[in-house]
């Protein structure tokens, strides 16, 4: 799980152009939206693309998105639960 979380952090930094951040500076339990990283609606959609592109997992509604994209940890758990990571 630790390896997956680290991989995911790097992928998120790349996908969202978080150029000034490092994996170490991202807390996997912190909220991704509103507080924490403070990502916005386009970032959320990009993370949905990331899950499909890198892990073959499809999220097609905003509702699914809210649950899975709560934090890096919840994303990793979703990937694990679907045997993709």
């Amino acid at each position: 799980m630790e390896q997956l979380i680290n991989k995911l952090k790097n992928e998120i930094i790349e996908a969202l152009n978080l150029t000034e951040m490092t994996p170490e500076s991202i807390d996997e339990n912190a909220p991704l939206f509103v507080e924490g990283l403070g990502l916005d609606s386009i970032d959320a959609l990009e993370l949905i693309v990331l899950l499909e592109k890198k892990y073959g997992l499809k999220l097609s509604t905003a509702e699914d998105g809210k649950k899975v994209l709560r934090s890096v940890k919840s994303m990793a758990e979703f990937i694990r639960a679907n045997n993709k990571g």
Binding site: D40, I42, L45
Partner: protein
């Protein structure tokens, strides 16, 4: 100060090849948004409002060689030609200017599978505008407005300003955009497309429907060339939310500013609002907020996106033409797709066709980039 009159107009869309044909479908409450299958546009079936291509080509070949023009150009040229033939404006005069409104023009040229027999520089919007200019032997280099979904309204606002200031006497405004894989895939990535015809302002709205169209509106300073009853294009403004590049401002900041600036210039009450109403959760909510802030919550309002879908660069022109039809015929179209309000602010959505006196209308639009526009039109 010079007045700006609406001379003639044309709409080409899924609902027909003239304004009249389109209006008949609107009055009958019929949508042009259908399920299509075309693997060049989407790997799976998709909902959109598309122009009948065989009819377009067949009609175009009656006056020009289709192979020499891209689909975008065939659509724009056909529309402009119909509008020009219906009025006596001297379109080749140096006092006439053509303004093209489009978001993506010939973007299908970027697709390696597209096989137009034209140079690749037609992908540049100035170039495609120049082709259209040459077709009609127009005297002046066209203005090209490419400002997301407010382009059409902005093109009309600018045209009116240019006439009012005396810089030009006549303006041909044409707004055109196609349904392409480029655009469909993009909106899909935003998860903002509706599976089915869109439902503006409705509580069950799921997103927008894409459409393609060409709308041409010819403006003139010459009252004798104006169509009857005379309709005048009034003041209009654009404004920015300064908030987010794709999501609208929750307080409707930009749209509110644009509306208030337009109203500052109007002595008379607004009888009807032609809204943007794309049927995305956020846009329609934002519009209801802006309309209410402007104290226009009781003014009958509709969205026509349920008929044509969202025609992007054509939307502002096509929907303004429909507004002009409403003014001339004292007729308000219902908001197709709407049954129950799904916005937090109270607005007077027109849910059934209505025959009623209309004198002053407010057209509003919003688009990516936080852009917003307002325009007053009077009879």
């Amino acid at each position: 100060m010079r007045k700006v009159y609406a001379a003639s107009d044309n709409i080409i869309s899924s609902l027909g090849f003239t304004t009249r044909e389109n209006a008949d479908f609107l009055m009958a409450g019929e949508t042009g948004i259908k399920l299509h299958e075309d693997i060049r546009i989407s790997p799976s079936p998709y909902w959109a409002s598309q122009v009948n291509n065989s009819v377009l080509i067949q009609q175009f070949s009656e006056f020009a060689e289709p192979k020499k023009f891209t689909r975008f150009e065939q659509l724009a040229i056909s529309s402009i030609r119909d509008a020009i033939l219906k009025c006596h404006v001297n379109f080749t005069s140096p006092r006439t200017l053509f303004i093209l409104s489009t978001t993506k023009g010939n973007v299908d040229i970027f697709d390696v599978r597209t096989n137009y027999a034209v140079d690749s520089d037609r992908a540049y919007l100035w170039k495609t505008a120049s082709i259209i200019q040459q077709f009609f032997n127009l005297a002046n280099t066209p203005l090209v407005v490419s400002n997301a979904c407010i382009s059409g309204v902005v093109a009309i606002i600018i045209g009116a300003r240019l006439i009012r200031s005396g810089r030009f006497d006549h303006i041909i405004v044409c707004g055109t955009d196609l349904v392409t894989e480029f655009v469909l895939s993009g909106f899909n990535s935003f998860l903002s497309l509706c599976a089915g015809p869109c439902k503006p302002f409705d509580k069950d709205r799921q997103g927008l429907s894409l459409g393609e169209a060409a709308g041409t509106l010819i403006l003139t300073c010459d009252k004798d060339l104006a169509a009857r009853p005379e309709v005048c294009i009034g003041e209009g403004y654009s404004s920015n939310d300064a908030n987010h590049i794709s999501g609208p401002s929750r307080t409707g900041e930009g749209l509110y500013i644009a509306i208030m600036r337009a109203l500052e210039h109007s002595q008379s009450k607004v009888d009807y609002i032609s809204a943007h109403g794309t049927a995305t959760p956020y846009n329609d909510e934002m519009e209801s907020v802006a309309i209410n802030r402007a104290k226009l919550g009781d003014v009958p309002v509709n969205s026509l996106k349920g008929f044509w879908g969202h025609t992007l660069g054509a939307a502002g022109v096509v929907e303004t033409i429909a507004g002009i039809f409403s003014l001339r015929n004292d007729f308000l179209f219902k908001t197709l797709g709407y049954s129950e309000s799904g916005v937090s602010q109270s607005i007077a959505v027109i849910s059934e066709n209505r025959q009623t006196t209309v004198h002053n209308i407010l057209k509003i639009a919003s688009g990516f980039g936080g852009s917003n526009a307002s325009l007053l039109i009077t009879k």
